[in-house]
């Protein structure tokens, strides 16, 4: 989603435009999901936090001071809610990465269906390797890259509030983490 439209969509949604709301959900869901996932919540918790963030956004819609920065509002709320859920002891359960890799979703996206095709097996392998090496990165890199891989690319302001790191340090850190990932892929002979 073009972030330039976010403010106008928020204002339209405040006035009751359901299509504008839907566009916000479509455009900013990957950001919210990425922030939640970057905090390594178990599946059930991640689902709940994602919902809470959107319920809260709907509730606060008419009171958001800077509609243009709704992405940052969502990212910040997602971080806040994720940390809180992690803090309640009974929920300390790491994501099962192996399970994630093997997961077969009932709601298959066109991309997933495409990957089912036999001729795409090599591509599947490549993507799995990439994901495994990504998961093997240090916690800080893994977290930053998981937020950055939201689609469309998040603004640095959004990344900053999603992870509580200064905007100015995101670029250098990103560079470093991507290099590290590339080195891991090269070591594996997967490039």
């Amino acid at each position: 989603m073009d972030r330039a439209h976010v403010g106008a969509l928020v204002r339209a949604a405040v006035d009751g435009d359901a299509a504008a709301w839907k566009a916000l959900v479509e455009g900013l869901s990957p950001l919210v999901w990425s922030v939640v996932r970057s905090h390594r919540l178990a599946d059930a918790d991640a689902h709940e936090v994602y919902q809470t963030v959107w319920f809260r956004f709907a509730q606060h819609l008419g009171r958001i001071r800077e509609p243009d920065k709704a992405g940052s509002w969502l990212a910040s709320t997602a971080r806040h809610e994720s940390l809180k859920v992690l803090k309640s002891l009974r929920r300390l359960m790491p994501t099962d990465d192996a399970q994630l890799l093997d997961r077969v979703s009932d709601d298959r996206t066109p991309e997933q269906s495409f990957l089912d095709l036999e001729e795409a097996a090599a591509e599947t392998e490549r993507i799995r390797h990439l994901w495994q090496e990504f998961e093997g990165l240090g916690e800080r890199c893994r977290q930053l890259l998981r937020v950055l891989m939201a689609s469309p690319t998040p603004r640095y302001q959004e990344v900053s509030v999603a992870l509580g790191i200064a905007v100015g340090s995101i670029g250098p850190l990103r560079q470093r983490c991507l290099r590290r990932l590339r080195a891991r892929l090269e070591a594996r002979g997967a490039v």
Binding site: A13, V14, A18, W21, K22, V25, E26, S29, P30, W33, S34, H47, Y50, Q51, T52, F55, R56, F57, A58, Q59, L61, G62, E81, K84, K87, S88, L89, S105, D107, T109, E111, L115, I127, R128, L130, W131, F134, L137, G138, C141, L145, L148, M149, A150, S151, T153, I165, G168, S169, P172, L173, R174, Q175, R176, L178, R179, R180, L181, R182, A183
Partner: protein, 179 residues
């Protein structure tokens, strides 16, 4: 900017950030020509991988679309002002202690205690009100307070949680949170 400046900048930033990994063999040489492009490509590949291996579950997205029903400009928001998960020191050996929440709106306070057996709450100052326990955009279970403003609910809420209260003065919805 020449390469030396670049190296200095990056080193400084690394110190500030206290990068956690010990593997320092890569990353400290400045940007070589064309590298930024390569890294952009790698990031784009990661974006594709995430879209395939860890996309937003479509059912969740649908719930978010339906959440527009929660947009209610007439309802006052009761802000969460105390949450024992964040604001209270943990008590040793008391993992099962109930979660205490306090919400404020205007002159009204709502205290809630979430335990393994359900929830108890009280509206202060004491008054009768109808209370709905919400878990999403759909209507929640209706409860009423007694004359002291107290209410109980036998099912422990899980997941997204909010209360909608109708008092003599209007409608009030608590901040959403995850329980």
């Amino acid at each position: 900017m020449d390469d030396m400046d670049n190296i200095d900048d990056i080193n400084q930033i690394n110190e500030i950030n206290e990068i956690d990994d010990t593997d320092d063999t890569d990353g400290d040489e400045g940007l070589v020509e064309g590298e930024e492009f390569d890294l952009d490509l790698l990031e784009e590949e990661l974006r594709r991988a995430a879209a395939i291996l860890d996309p937003v579950p479509p059912a969740l997205r649908q719930i978010a679309v339906e959440a527009f029903a929660l947009h209610d400009l007439d309802a006052e928001i009761a802000e969460l002002t105390f949450d024992s998960v964040v604001d209270a020191l943990p008590i040793r050996g008391a993992e099962d202690a109930p979660r205490m929440l306090t919400f404020h709106a205007g002159g009204l306070t709502v205290d809630v205690e979430l335990g393994a057996h359900g929830l108890m709450g009280q509206v202060l100052p004491p008054q009768t009100a109808s209370v709905e326990v919400l878990s999403g955009p759909q209507a929640g279970s209706p409860l009423s307070t007694d004359a002291m403003g107290r209410f109980t609910y036998d099912e422990p809420p899980t997941g997204p949680f909010a209360l909608r209260l109708r008092t003599g003065e209007g409608t009030l919805v608590t901040d959403w949170l995850t329980v």
